[in-house]
């Protein structure tokens, strides 16, 4: 097959579904109150405390990375 052929005519539904899926709210973000969101908030608070300790010990970069990674993991 040459690279300029376009064989996949049945694809729009698959692709459309993907775009819809990308735009759907992240379930980790949609929880409210004391559910997932509350737990996430507490975890972030603890991580900020750890970051401050890391900063105080001179591990500034480590603390920064920790917070970024934690935010990603928690969907924030």
């Amino acid at each position: 097959m040459s690279s300029t052929e376009a064989p996949d005519t049945a694809a729009p539904n698959v692709l459309d579904s993907w775009f819809v899926q990308l735009a759907a709210p992240d379930v980790r973000r949609s929880a409210t109150g004391n559910g997932v969101q509350g737990i996430v908030g507490k975890q972030l608070s603890r991580i900020r405390t750890i970051r401050k300790i890391a900063d105080d010990l001179g591990y500034v970069e480590t603390g920064r990375i920790l917070l970024i990674e934690a935010r990603k993991a928690l969907g924030r």
Binding site: M1, S2, S3, T4, E5, A6, P7, D8, T9, A10, A11, P12, V14, L15, D16, W18, F19, V20, L22, A23, D26, L57, G58, Y59, V60, E61, T62, I65, I68, E69, K72
Partner: protein, 498 residues
């Protein structure tokens, strides 16, 4: 930030696909979004090891893939029937971590000039060894065509630099620049994608970016050229925190697939050559290792700083507090000299973690109580540090392992002799003159060297004379040689431009 709706993502994806197709010289005229994706996937599947799959992955996901992700993408395309390729691609590249936050981005391709990754220096106010090298070197490439890039906030891939980022790299020290606004960085909506060009890594990559950079070096069709600072975290793993060794092992996955490593000293070059020889066992050629020694001109004219008068000779010891810097051996040698009746003031400059400083601080306090003149400064500005260099009778830098040894060169720039280690990169610098070499693993040897420099004015005068006749290697020399070294290396990676 663009709205999160399917049509926005469709438009962004269509733009990315067309940009990638144009880069691959594939016709995009009148292609629907689906047709454009199908053409991309055909190109990706047509060459089992070619860089087209890497670019197709980036176009589909707006994320630079890791080697594992790209291998899975290739396998799925290999197995899929033509009418199932899109579904296969969406199961792999389309489901990669980070796709949701990157889906609104478009691409710009850089194929006609080198891409220079200054992701850390452009977003950080740290200004220790590596950042200083970047800030002294990269501005000197202003007459060479290149594209400066940083990383998107989610580490999806390269983005252009904002005003603050450029200022941090190109105009460091010329006025204050605020810390990066994370919202502004997150809003960087265009990924910069190197394509069949050279990607220059003047920094040591951050851990979270190593996997994507290793894949880029291996599979993107661009050759990677990097500065090799040292392999201390592996070669001297016994002297650093475990986490540093683990990070460095990840970093070496980039080195493994790089085209060229320009080491900052002969000793650093030896370390990277050793690693290059090791990857032969994996069937890889490894990078070409070249030595381009760092500049010695630190932009500080000898005598330009205030000489602080001291009643007794000042011995200066500069460096962060960690085991390999060997400050405790210096302290022990000084204690012995003090007990023998020598008069001097010993000044340490450098920070460190609480754990590393605990024992040192106790030993220092004890000696101070006994009457020895000894100080330890954790943080000093450049001006205060330079005043100390100018005031010192000599400096002691007897590190057990260095990629280069900036404090030695700083001291020599101030006309101040140095007591340093008799092997590795420090011995390389010492050979140029102005230094007395000792065995850093022997406190007796360090003590003997310190005694000689304290007692013998003739030796100090001779070393001072040697300093004044040292050939000056400027940052301009370094930047020029480095650029040449990066861009003239032979192409050896699979899929690299011919």
């Amino acid at each position: 930030m663009s709205p999160r709706d399917p049509e926005t993502f469709r438009a962004a994806f269509r733009s990315r696909a067309q940009t990638a197709l144009r880069a691959m010289d594939i016709d995009t005229d009148a292609a629907t979004t689906e047709e454009a994706l199908a053409r991309l996937l055909c190109a990706a599947a047509s060459n089992s090891r070619g860089p087209e799959a890497w670019l197709a992955f980036v176009a589909l996901s707006a994320v630079f893939p890791t080697a594992t992700q790209l291998a899975q993408f290739r396998r799925e395309l290999f197995l899929a029937q033509p009418d199932q390729q899109i579904a296969a691609a969406l199961r792999t590249a389309g489901a990669a971590p980070g796709v949701r936050s990157a889906a609104h981005r478009t691409l710009t391709i850089v194929a006609d000039r080198p891409v220079v990754d200054v992701g850390h220096t452009s977003s950080s106010d740290h200004n220790t060894g590596i950042q200083r090298v970047v800030r002294r070197t990269v501005p000197l490439w202003e007459h060479e065509a290149h594209e400066l890039v940083g990383w998107s906030d989610d580490n999806a891939g390269y983005t252009g630099l904002d005003h603050e980022g450029r200022h941090r790299v190109l105009k460091w020290g010329r006025g204050n620049v605020p810390l990066p606004d994370s919202a502004a960085v997150a809003g960087a909506e265009v990924l910069v994608v190197p394509w069949r060009t050279t990607v220059i890594l003047p920094e040591v990559a951050m851990p979270e970016r190593c996997a994507a950079l290793a894949c880029l070096a291996e599979s993107s069709g661009s050759r990677v050229a990097m500065i090799g600072y040292d392999a201390i975290p592996l070669v001297s793993a016994d002297l650093v925190d475990d986490i540093e060794s683990e990070r460095f092992a990840n970093y070496l996955t980039i080195v493994k697939h790089a085209a060229v490593v320009s080491a900052i000293s002969g000793a650093a070059g030896d370390e990277f050559s050793g690693f290059r020889n090791a990857v032969v066992a994996q069937g890889l050629p490894g990078p070409e290792i070249r030595t381009v020694p760092l500049a010695e001109d630190l932009g500080v004219a000898a005598g330009s700083h205030e000489v602080v008068e001291s009643a007794v000779p000042v011995i200066l010891c500069v460096g962060s507090h960690e085991a390999r810097k060997n400050q405790e051996a210096v302290l022990a040698a000084a204690a012995s000299l003090f007990r023998a009746g020598h008069l001097f003031k010993l000044v340490f400059v450098g920070g460190g973690s609480r754990r590393n400083l605990l024992h040192f601080d106790r030993a220092l306090a004890k000696l101070s109580k006994q009457g020895m003149r000894v100080e330890s400064h954790r943080r000093l500005g450049d001006a205060e540090l330079f005043d100390l260099y100018a005031a010192a009778r000599f400096c002691v830098f007897v590190s057990l392992h260095e990629g280069y040894g900036l404090p030695v060169v700083e001291s020599l720039s101030h006309g101040t002799p140095v007591l340093t280690s008799n092997y590795g990169s420090l011995a390389e610098i010492a050979r140029g003159g102005g230094c007395l070499q000792v065995d850093p693993r022997s406190v007796a040897s360090i003590e003997s060297g310190m005694r000689e420099l304290l007692e013998d004015d003739d030796v100090i005068a001779r070393l001072g004379e040697e300093i004044s006749t040292r050939p000056v290697r400027t940052w301009s020399d370094y930047a020029k040689e480095l650029w040449t070294s990066f861009l003239t290396a032979p192409v050896s990676n699979p899929g690299s431009p011919s």
